[in-house]
Symmetry: C2
Subunit: 147 residues, 2 copies
DNA sequence: AGATATAGTACACCCCGCTTAACTAATTAA
DNA sequence: TTAATTAGTTAAGCGGGGTGTACTATATCT
């Protein structure tokens, strides 16, 4: 397995470069929107979950329901998420992104995409095609192994 | 340019999946280490910069020197970074990761790498090789365009 | 040498997000 | 129907991390 070592090394370098960039972009996003790490975290989870509840948010983030409730309240004030009573159990709330919230988070994803697209500019179209294939494989694999 | 549209779409999906995962791992890392976003941010910058100063940290993070100084102080207390007088200009401090700090942040990068390595398990070796090539290209491009 | 600028720190103060604890309202169990 | 449970909110208090200001110590300009 001679290529195994190289694979590890290649991935490590990519991870390092990408994490660094991720961190920078993420901080920029927080500064621009004025949102905290927790707030962005909640919005991202809502993108993925669609509709969820306060305690589910709290559970996923590893904080108390009180904390989750407060965080949700702030985001409702900002008109980024919508909080309505669940019809079947009026104790629980249905949380969903508002249009404004969705646009905001999409912009964050867009920014990250744009960066990678920019990297493509210095590559040949053969190389670009290979990267398309590779990322497609990785994305599929990630979605499959998502527990 | 028929492949141009697809390229955009592939990158967008990858970005979304990866950001979501990034966020989760990053939060886990902060919880495990007990470090804040800012603190991890500083450590990451030190990994990249090697040796730097308090005001450089402040400048990069967009905070005042006072804030940077306090943040550095906390990390020094935790024995994650080392603060010594610069020999040429005794006003400035040389900031560097300690062994402990370096190990910690390497573990973070390692965790991210391990995730991608895990994705490889469901792929053929041909596919793996293609991904190696693709990530190598992307890493190189990223380092080249790093302003 | 004396004035000015620069790097970093100390302090007072403020905001944010967390926790615990007490509470309300709705649901389920006896 | 009453008791117990569950979902969520509210309030008080704490700590982290930010600012502005004042300060110390070193370096630089004239």
């Amino acid at each position: 397995m001679q290529s195994s070592k190289q694979l590890t090394e290649v991935i490590r370098e990519w991870s390092e470069v990408f994490m660094q960039r991720s961190m920078r972009d993420f901080k920029r996003f927080m500064d621009e929107t004025g949102l905290s790490f927790s707030q962005v975290n909640i919005l991202m989870r809502l993108v993925h979950a669609g509709i969820t509840s306060v305690s589910e948010i709290g559970g996923q983030m590893g904080v108390t329901n009180a904390a989750a409730s407060q965080a949700v309240e702030r985001l409702v004030q900002l008109d980024l998420i919508e909080r309505t009573e669940a019809p079947d159990d009026r104790r629980t709330k249905r949380l969903a992104l508002t249009q404004k919230g969705r646009v905001l988070i999409e912009q964050g994803i867009e920014a990250r995409s744009k960066w990678i697209e920019g990297l493509m500019d210095v590559l040949t179209s053969d190389q670009q095609n290979m990267i398309i294939s590779a990322l497609t494989l990785l994305t599929d694999a990630a979605q499959k192994t998502k527990e």
